[in-house]
């Protein structure tokens, strides 16, 4: 692929890091393969079932180590350091809380609601802790990442932002995206060097406009189909015999299903387009140590088509092609992510020694949050 610049060979020694005389962007690559990951994936699932779920913590470690380790920048992969035990403990705590919460909600609603409010109160703190854990167990060239964001920022980025976005029917979503990217981008550290980003709202809105157009157009089409069918249903009511003859029952059910799938598809596609656009804007506005620039140049169309075809491929093969789909996506995203080092980066030191607790990270995992680097 022409876009991928040749990478220096492994083991080039002390001078390779950051020295880019050409001044071009160094892109990430992905060296893993679908078949190799398939083995890891199926064994993960099998052992998770056999061990009644306990292995899932180690499964996560192996999965992440595979994806991080094969994400290569300048001939060197990233590393994932969390241990199965850390993750298991985090999961057990979160699981116990969720069980307690659900049981209480069912049987003693007031206590349940109280527990829910409590977790809502602690959520920003948990999110910040989770991001910190994820960052601290990630390293590149033996230097760990770190995250120094506080609960207040997490509250604005992940609670206030989405609520405002939903309340304004997505019109203020770019603002929410800006908050969350600023929160992550400005609090992320690599060793003692800081990342920073300040994506412009205008640029995000440009990207947002395309998604908004997709949603509006899609809803218009659904509205049109529904309108056509209102005519059909009315006819059917006026001539019940006719309706019986053409099997109205079946077609009505089918229509509901089609409508549901269409809505799901429209919002899904719009979200994917938006996500790729925002990522490009936010990453390309980011720098490390005030001078090394980051780059993201995902094609919105290509990113969306890969995500959609991956989902279809996974469904059609009853999940069996999922490993190939996952590898395909990571490869595409990596190849469209890069860094341009200004001069020699020199020796960077890790500022941290310990990882802290996995509870926050596991909460994000179970609640469906997913932040990757």
């Amino acid at each position: 692929m022409a876009l991928v610049e040749p990478l220096p060979a492994q083991n080039v020694g002390q001078v390779s890091f950051g020295c880019s005389a050409e001044g071009g962007f160094q892109r990430l690559s992905f060296t893993g393969t679908g078949s190799e990951y398939f083995g890891i994936w199926i064994v993960n699932i099998l052992l998770t079932i056999v061990t009644l779920g306990i292995y899932s913590a180690w499964a996560k470690v192996r999965r992440n180590r595979y994806f991080y380790g094969n994400s290569v920048l300048l001939g060197r992969g990233f590393e994932y350091h969390a241990t199965g035990k850390q993750i298991l403990v985090g999961r057990l705590i979160v699981f116990a809380y969720l069980v307690l919460y659900n049981v209480m909600l069912t049987f003693v609603p007031y206590v349940g609601i109280g527990l829910g409010v409590l977790i809502l109160f602690f959520l920003p703190w948990l999110l910040a802790r989770g991001l910190r854990f994820s960052a601290r167990v990630t390293s590149y060239r033996n230097v760990r990442f770190d995250f120094v964001g506080r609960a207040g920022g997490a509250f604005l980025a992940f609670i206030v932002g989405p609520v405002i976005a939903v309340l304004t029917l997505g019109i203020l979503a770019p603002l929410a995206s800006r908050w969350s990217y600023r929160y992550i981008g400005n609090n992320l550290r690599y060793g003692q060097k800081a990342f920073s980003t300040d994506p412009s709202v205008g640029a995000i809105y440009k990207s947002w406009a395309i998604s908004a157009a997709v949603v509006v157009l899609g809803l218009l089409i659904i509205g049109f189909i529904a309108f056509l069918n209102i005519a059909l249903i009315t006819t059917a009511f006026e001539n019940p015999d006719l309706a019986e003859a053409v099997g109205m029952q079946v077609s009505l059910t089918l229509l509901i299903v089609i409508g549901y799938v269409l809505v799901f598809a429209i919002f899904g596609v719009a979200a994917l387009i938006y996500r790729a656009g925002v990522r490009n804007v936010a990453w390309s506005a980011a720098t490390l140590d005030g001078k090394h620039r980051l780059l993201s140049d995902l094609s919105r169309l290509r990113y969306t088509s890969i995500a959609v075809s991956n989902l279809l491929l996974t469904l059609v093969t009853l999940g069996l092609m999922r490993p190939w789909a996952a590898v395909r996506m990571v490869r595409y995203v990596n190849e469209h992510t890069g860094v341009r080092f200004e001069g020699n980066v020199g020796e960077i030191f890790s500022a941290i020694a310990q990882e802290g607790s996995a509870v926050g990270a596991e909460f994000m995992d179970i609640e469906g949050f997913d932040f990757g680097f």
Partner: protein
């Protein structure tokens, strides 16, 4: 010193927490494992028991962490495995061996599907039964009290039925309640105005039954029909359907979450929705079970077991409810249920003739 040539793996060495890297080799010197640079000078070292070696995953580099926090990294995975085997840790690579792309993975796929199906078919229902069995009766009671309280505050209104009508229904209700496993004391009947719930009757898990005025009006003078519906609701309580359903839903969600990290978010959403549809099909079988219970209780009480069938007929004619069973409905199609009940009665009649 010739430790360089004795190196069994080549790679790079990093001082603790530093991005600086030095081309190095790993070798064994007596009991110790040492990393040496190209000139043979020792960079770091430690006893075998004191160093940490990362597990093998795919072809990603292995990490050897020394007690001083420095790190040796190598792509020579096989050499590290041989070194581990020499030191009595041959089993360390078992998971990696299992994961290799190999025909045996076909067997793993089959085993995974089979185990998944077994878990869903047997382990999940068994766990649900265990959970139902260990649930102390106080929990359904608390749950029911608060549910009724919430319903009274939000949807239900006070009943406007006259005393005589109530007494007739209560009388019939007590007759069948007395014949059920929990006895007459196990059930209490509440009259309410249904409001948005319309003609309805439902049971809370502790045996609290709620009957709406609208349903009584729909039944007209046929009190027996109402009793038949109440017998159906008693069936739900006796079989602990609501508890089972809660535990089932929780179990399915937990199962999906367990492997969720590996299936992708879009596929996960679809699975969760699919789980919801399956839960509906479970509630259909619960309805059928309650219908059967109604027939049996009514027969025992010497009442007409077809009363509930008359109720379904009423639903069909008055409310034009001719829905067929589909995967989207919580209840079986009304005509189908009516037929199942009449079949059951015919079966019972056949038995009693013999």
């Amino acid at each position: 010193m010739d430790s360089d040539s004795s190196a069994f793996a080549r790679g790079e060495w990093h001082p603790a927490g530093s991005s600086r890297s030095v081309v190095a080799g790993l070798s064994e010197v007596g009991e110790r494992v040492v990393a040496c640079d190209e000139t043979g000078a020792e960079l770091a070292g430690g006893n075998f028991s004191a160093i940490r070696i990362s597990a093998r995953v795919g072809r990603i580099p292995r990490r050897v962490t020394f007690p001083d926090g420095s790190l040796f990294e190598t792509n020579d995975n096989d050499a590290i495995d041989r070194f581990l085997a020499r030191n009595g840790r041959a089993g360390a690579g078992t998971v990696h061996w299992l994961e290799r792309f190999h025909p045996r993975l076909v067997a793993f796929v089959a085993a995974t599907i089979l185990l998944g199906a077994l878990v869903y078919r047997y382990a999940l229902p068994a766990l649900v039964e265990v959970a139902v069995a260990v649930t102390p009766p106080i929990l359904p009671r608390i749950m029911s009290v608060s549910t009724l309280e919430t319903l009274d505050k939000t949807l239900l209104g006070e009943s406007k039925l006259d005393e005589a009508r109530r007494a007739r229904i209560l009388d019939g209700f007590q007759r069948i309640a007395a014949l059920s496993a929990a006895g007459e004391g196990g059930y209490t009947l509440n009259f309410r105005e249904g409001g948005p719930l319309g003609p309805n009757a439902f049971a809370l898990p502790d045996g609290t039954l709620i009957l709406t005025d609208e349903l009584v009006e729909l039944a007209g003078s046929d009190t027996e029909m109402i009793v038949g519906v109440l017998a159906h609701e008693i069936g739900h309580v006796e079989h602990k359907h609501s508890l089972r359903q809660i535990y089932r839903a929780a179990g399915v969600a937990a199962l999906i979450m367990l492997v969720a990290g590996d299936i992708g978010s879009g596929a996960e959403d679809i699975l969760v929705e699919g789980g919801g549809l399956l839960a509906l099909s479970y509630s259909r079988s619960a309805e059928a079970e309650a219908d059967r219970h109604s027939v049996e209780l009514m027969m025992k009480a010497g009442l007409d077991p077809a009363a509930i069938a008359r109720f379904f007929e009423l639903l069909e004619t008055k409310l034009e409810d001719r829905s067929e069973t589909s995967i989207f409905s919580t209840h079986p199609g009304t005509p189908e249920r009516r037929k199942a009940i009449l079949d059951l009665i015919a079966e019972h009649a056949g038995e009693s003739i013999k």
